[in-house]
């Protein structure tokens, strides 16, 4: 089986949304209502319960080296966003029912028949990926086409991508490919290119992402958090505070009873 994942090279994304459509078709997800957001060509806006791939259209007043446009200082950046399938997944660690599991492909999967609709994974995800559908309250997100992987198929989005912006495969091979791509972009003058969330050293807060990205601007520009952390990593201090508070509360309760008894005499 091995570790599977996505490498999304944003420099070759053309914003065709084939991945969004392929994902919706394979996973039988309904449309998003054909709304125009009124602020860009992006009509999906964000990942959600019915949107498991989302293409962000970033309009920048900054030129990209080697790309000429009609307007002087302008460039498009496109990013096909998806669930990151973190090595340390916040949703998985937060799920109180065991509905979220790690599969044999090292991906993170929400079992819809177990999901309780408590919404804890929604608040826990540092990337804002998991969403609750509004009617019955269950959580949904990208499954990395778990049903296709079992048959040895490529996930629908990667299969449909015409520019190989989305590459699916074994994580180690993807890492090698991504490193080579960054080297070649640097050699061609695009010094801003870097990998986002490749491994634990690159993104310690999540232990690395199984779906990592090649970006050419700050993560914020793509609506990605610059230094995300799985909230569980900070929980130890919170539990310590609870222990301290418990000591204090017990002392206060006993003290109050003793004081009250003393005052009686």
């Amino acid at each position: 089986m091995g570790q599977k994942g996505f490498f999304t090279d944003t420099t070759v994304c053309i914003g065709c949304k084939a991945c969004e459509v392929a994902c919706k078709q394979w996973n039988q997800l309904p449309d998003d209502g054909f709304h125009f957001t009124g602020m860009s060509y992006d009509n999906t806006g964000a990942l959600g319960a019915s949107t498991w791939r989302h293409v962000a259209f970033v309009e920048r007043p900054v030129p990209l080296p080697g790309v000429s446009t009609a307007i002087a200082d302008f460039s498009w950046l496109m990013l096909s966003d998806v669930c990151k399938h973190c090595q340390r997944a916040a949703c998985l660690e937060a799920c109180p029912t065991g509905a979220i599991i790690r599969t044999e492909f090292d991906t993170v999967y929400v079992q819809p028949d177990v999901c309780n609709g408590c919404g804890y994974c929604v608040a826990a995800c540092p990337f804002g990926v998991v969403a609750r559908r509004e009617d019955d309250g269950r959580a949904w997100k990208c499954t990395l086409c778990y049903d296709r992987l079992g048959e040895g198929l490529t996930p629908a989005c990667a299969k449909a991508c015409p520019t190989e912006s989305i590459v699916y495969g074994d994580l180690e091979a993807l890492h090698a490919r991504a490193e080579a791509r960054v080297q070649s972009l640097h050699a061609r003058g695009l010094k801003d290119a870097y990998l986002y969330g490749k491994d634990a050293a690159n993104q310690p807060g999540t232990g690395g992402l199984n779906a990592f990205f090649l970006l050419v601007d700050r993560p914020e520009v793509y609506n990605l958090p610059p230094d995300p952390v799985v909230p569980t990593m900070k929980a130890k201090e919170s539990w310590t505070a609870v222990a301290l508070g418990a000591l204090g509360m017990a002392a206060v309760a006993l003290g109050a009873v003793w004081l009250g008894e003393e005052a009686r005499r």
Partner: protein, 378 residues
């Protein structure tokens, strides 16, 4: 299963298909998957952020869209934060009275048991209401997952509620049943300690910037505030004069501690301007100011010499209002901070993301030293 969306093919259509050799089944286009019948989503934009990247190159965002998802919980959750906290603190006081109090305080211990049990049951009801179906609360006890404060909390609440009920039924009896009942009451009280504090861990163990920023202090605030609120509630219930001395000491300690912890919580949030914004502005800001004013007023009224009856009642009511509004303020404030992408971005750039949790991490994948706040490209 025949779908209602299935188009009925006319005779001509059928003949044409046969002539073409097409074997396209029109039902193949009908969505039948488990996620298929969802309502479409609505997009939300951060309030006060203009939908443009060029607007502020120093702190960019993606059209002001939120970077994390807003918590989906309803008002039952902040209500539970109050009720559950009071139930836990009351159980703890009940055990203290059993252990250290004399025979004259027996009535108070019994009342604590009643209030604790009622609080546990109401809490379970509120959580079930948020989940939507009673069976879903039982489903929370499917597994025990130590990494999930919600899993731990579900077990704590279920255990505390069950033991409290057992104690209520048995503890006044003689012989073995009485012993079992009193042991159950003690167990419920021990569980009352985490019951009043775990909710803070549950909130801070999320990606919501406001809650995450106070992960060291919020448990102390919730537990102190629960102590104050439990003391006030028990004082509002009819009680004897010698019991009032115990309740006053208990509540007073809680009020002082909750004021101090409240200031600590606010100072934690103030480390980043955008994170603390909901505590100053909007509905959550108004609620937070109300909670502080009520807490101070309740404490001052409580400390007045030669207190009249009205002053005692007013102090207890004000403390209760303060405790409830503090929980609603933090709840709504957390939602507001989740809608604001800059709250997430700026906190992480200030080193309050992974850098805060993993101190000894220094090298990036390319061998260059990692510095937090992260290096800004370009």
């Amino acid at each position: 299963m025949s779908s209602p969306h299935e188009p009925t093919a006319s005779l001509l259509d059928q003949l044409q298909r046969r002539a073409d050799g097409r074997n396209v089944d029109p039902t193949l286009g009908v969505l039948t998957g488990e996620g298929a019948q969802q309502r479409v989503k609505t997009l939300e934009r951060a309030p006060g952020i203009r939908p443009s990247l060029a607007a502020s190159p120093a702190s960019p965002s993606y059209h002001g869209l939120p970077v994390i998802k807003e918590p989906v919980w309803i008002a039952a959750i902040p209500t539970y934060l109050y009720v559950g906290g009071v139930a836990g603190a009351t159980s703890v006081l009940g055990l203290a009275v059993e252990l250290a109090g004399g025979r004259r305080l027996r009535q108070l211990a019994r009342r604590c048991l009643w209030v604790g049990t009622a609080g546990d049951l109401v809490s379970a009801g509120l959580l079930t209401y948020d989940l939507g179906r009673p069976a879903r609360f039982l489903n929370m006890l499917r597994v025990f997952r130590p990494t999930s404060p919600m899993s731990i909390g579900s077990w704590v609440l279920a255990g505390s509620g069950g033991l409290n009920t057992l104690a209520l039924l048995l503890s006044h009896r003689r012989g073995v049943p009485g012993k079992v009942g009193r042991a159950a009451g003690a167990g419920a009280a021990v569980l009352g300690l985490p019951l009043s504090g775990y909710t803070a861990v549950l909130l801070t163990n999320t990606a919501v910037p406001l809650w995450q920023s106070m992960h060291r202090t919020l448990p102390l605030f919730f537990m102190a505030s629960a102590t104050a609120a439990a003391g006030s509630l028990l004082s509002l219930l009819p009680h004897a004069r010698h019991e009032a001395r115990v309740l006053r000491a208990f509540g007073l300690a809680g009020k002082v501690a909750s004021l101090a912890a409240g200031l600590a919580v606010e100072r934690d949030a103030e480390r980043v301007t955008e994170v603390a914004r909901p505590l100053r502005e909007g509905v959550s800001g108004a609620l937070w100011r109300t909670s502080k004013a009520c807490a101070v007023a309740g404490l001052v009224l409580d400390l007045l010499p030669r207190r009249r009856r009205w002053a005692r009642v007013a102090a207890d009511v004000l403390t209760t209002v303060g405790a409830v509004s503090a929980r609603f303020a933090l709840f709504e404030g957390g939602k507001a901070s989740a809608r604001n992408p800059q709250a997430t971005f700026q906190a992480q750039r200030r080193g309050l993301g992974a850098a805060e949790a993993i101190a000894n991490h220094t090298l990036a994948s390319d061998g260059r030293p990692l510095s937090f706040p992260l290096r800004v490209l370009r």
